[in-house]
């Protein structure tokens, strides 16, 4: 399945992901700038912050337990569409999902 990342400068990167992969993993494994994922997906660092595209927020769903606490410490502005990309697991309904990246993660 596909994920489209749109960087803060508007540049787009389209990557392949497997079912069960997190959006963070897909970004890191495809060398997408703008996602760090320093803790490897352990919900320890808030360096994989992303904004879910308006058309996808319902399919992706809301923040998990503890996620908003980490987002409080994110480097860029936190919005209603903010998620930690390590907590978004790819599944069939998310094929084609569009993810916007913040200006900074640190």
């Amino acid at each position: 399945m596909k994920i489209t990342f749109i960087a803060a400068d508007g540049s787009e990167t389209r990557v392949d992901a497997a079912e069960g992969d997190s959006v963070m993993q897909a970004a890191v494994q495809n060398d997408v700038d703008g996602i760090i994922g320093e803790c490897g997906g352990s919900m320890m660092c808030a360096t994989c912050h992303c904004y879910v595209d308006d058309g996808w927020t319902e399919a992706v769903g809301g923040q998990q337990d503890g996620e908003s606490d980490l987002l409080d410490c994110a480097a860029s502005e936190v919005r209603a569409s903010s998620r930690l990309s390590c907590q978004i697991r790819m599944r069939a309904e998310l094929d084609g999902v569009v993810i916007h990246l913040p200006e900074s993660q640190l």
């Binding site: 320093e38 803790c39 490897g40 997906g41 352990s42 320890m44 606490d69 410490c73």
Partner: protein
């Protein structure tokens, strides 16, 4: 500065190379690593990787990152000497690699106790991906695992093995679990947790030797008091020792790690050290060596800013650690060394929040499954006790009031 060489391709070495580019370094970067393959994350080896076996998911960056960033990675190569006079690193293949600056990021290796029988088949350790692969292959056929050492790695493995249906006995030489890293109050909570998960936990139980069956394979361990614990897999998880021999042979001062100053530089201005192998000035005035992803990564960023931007600020990042044991995510902010006062905040039907103070200031905070409190704690380390007391030790409230 034209050419920076990094010895070590762990998370610290990888971050060093990446941070140099982020800071705008345009010269050559050479990474030398003894392990084969691209740099990968170690923390999941005792947890997620054991469950899913997905090695590709461990990679810190894909191969394309190193090409795109013009970082030359030489894996499977052992650095054998540092020639400080010539400013060259010598590798096992006889090649000499000149540097203008050298960063030593050689990490640490396991340090099993000197007991007989460690070479028996069935005795394993867990540090590298190769170790984890070996254990993973054996786990399906393992009925009873003996875990020697009740620290983070041993307990993470124990929880994972229990979840996989393996019987587990943990033997720990100290009177409590995770004794170097954790308060007695939190260690008690984890002792109960592991017993509830079905692990047998023996404290005050130093190991005297590994037992072998008629086929020569490990069949358990014998304790110093003569008790025998049987098992068909023996994991030695008894702590680590820094890989500082290379630095020591090159004449750099070492004492439980390579001694560096507050900017993470050695006495040789052309050499820095980071991560598990570096002993840097700690809060009590003694050299401090941390075994954590956070230290490796933050050290690397600090050195990169110094080398590229000329920054000379002392390193001052707040340490943090985590450990996933079954459903419990333990998080620690700060350092509990030298703590002289403990405040325990019991939580209904959950682990307590433990605040440790040193000289009237917040030194460390331990939480389980409480990300919000942990994140607040990282910002509040150093805060006066009275200020927290005024908020009933509610770290989030104190943080908001201070903001």
């Amino acid at each position: 500065m034209q050419r920076i060489v990094i010895i070590g391709t762990g998370q610290g070495g990888q971050q060093m190379a990446a941070s140099l580019r982020q800071e705008g370094f345009q010269g050559e970067i050479l990474m030398l690593g003894e392990e084969p393959g691209l740099p990968y994350q170690r923390p999941p080896l005792s947890k997620a990787y054991m469950a899913n076996g997905n090695a590709a998911a461990l990679l810190l960056k894909p191969a394309s990152f190193y090409e795109r960033s013009a970082i030359v990675l030489r894996d499977g190569v052992r650095a054998t000497a540092i020639d400080r006079a010539a400013r060259e690193v010598v590798t096992g293949d006889g090649a000499r690699h000149p540097y203008d600056h050298l960063v030593i990021a050689t990490g640490a290796r396991n340090a099993p106790p000197p007991i007989p029988g460690l070479d028996a088949p069935g005795v394993v350790e867990l540090r590298s991906l190769a170790d984890a692969e070996r254990i993973r292959r054996r786990l399906a056929a393992t009925r009873h695992a003996v875990v020697v050492g009740g620290g983070f790695i041993g307990l993470e493995f124990a929880a994972m093995a229990r979840a996989a249906g393996v019987a587990v006995t943990v033997v720990e030489a100290a009177p409590r679990l995770m004794s170097r890293a954790l308060s007695p109050e939190m260690a008690d909570w984890f002792l109960t947790l592991h017993r509830e998960m079905g692990s047998q936990v023996l404290l005050d139980a130093p190991v005297a030797g590994v037992l072998a069956g008629a086929d020569g394979r490990a069949s358990g361990v014998v304790l110093a008091d003569g008790r025998e614990v049987s098992g068909d897999l023996v994991l030695m998880a008894t702590g680590v020792r820094p890989n500082s021999e290379l630095a020591e042979a090159a004449g750099l001062a070492c004492a439980n790690g390579i001694l560096v100053d507050a900017t993470l530089a050695t006495a040789d201005p052309a050499i820095s050290a980071l991560g598990d192998v570096a002993a840097f000035p700690g809060p009590l005035g003694r050299p401090l060596r941390l075994e954590s992803v956070q230290a490796a990564v933050d050290h690397a960023r600090h050195i990169a800013r110094r080398l590229v931007g000329g920054a000379s600020a002392p390193y001052a990042a707040v340490p943090w650690f985590w450990s996933d044991q079954g459903k419990a995510k333990l998080q620690i902010a700060g350092l509990l060394t030298g703590a002289d006062r403990t405040v325990v905040l019991p939580q209904p039907e959950a682990a307590p929040v433990v605040l440790l103070f040193r000289g009237g200031h917040l030194a460390a905070v331990e939480t389980v499954n409480a990300a919000g409190i942990h994140m607040a704690a990282r910002r509040m380390i150093g805060c006066p006790l009275a200020q927290l007391e005024a908020h009933g030790f509610d770290l989030r409230a104190a943080m908001k009031a201070a903001a």
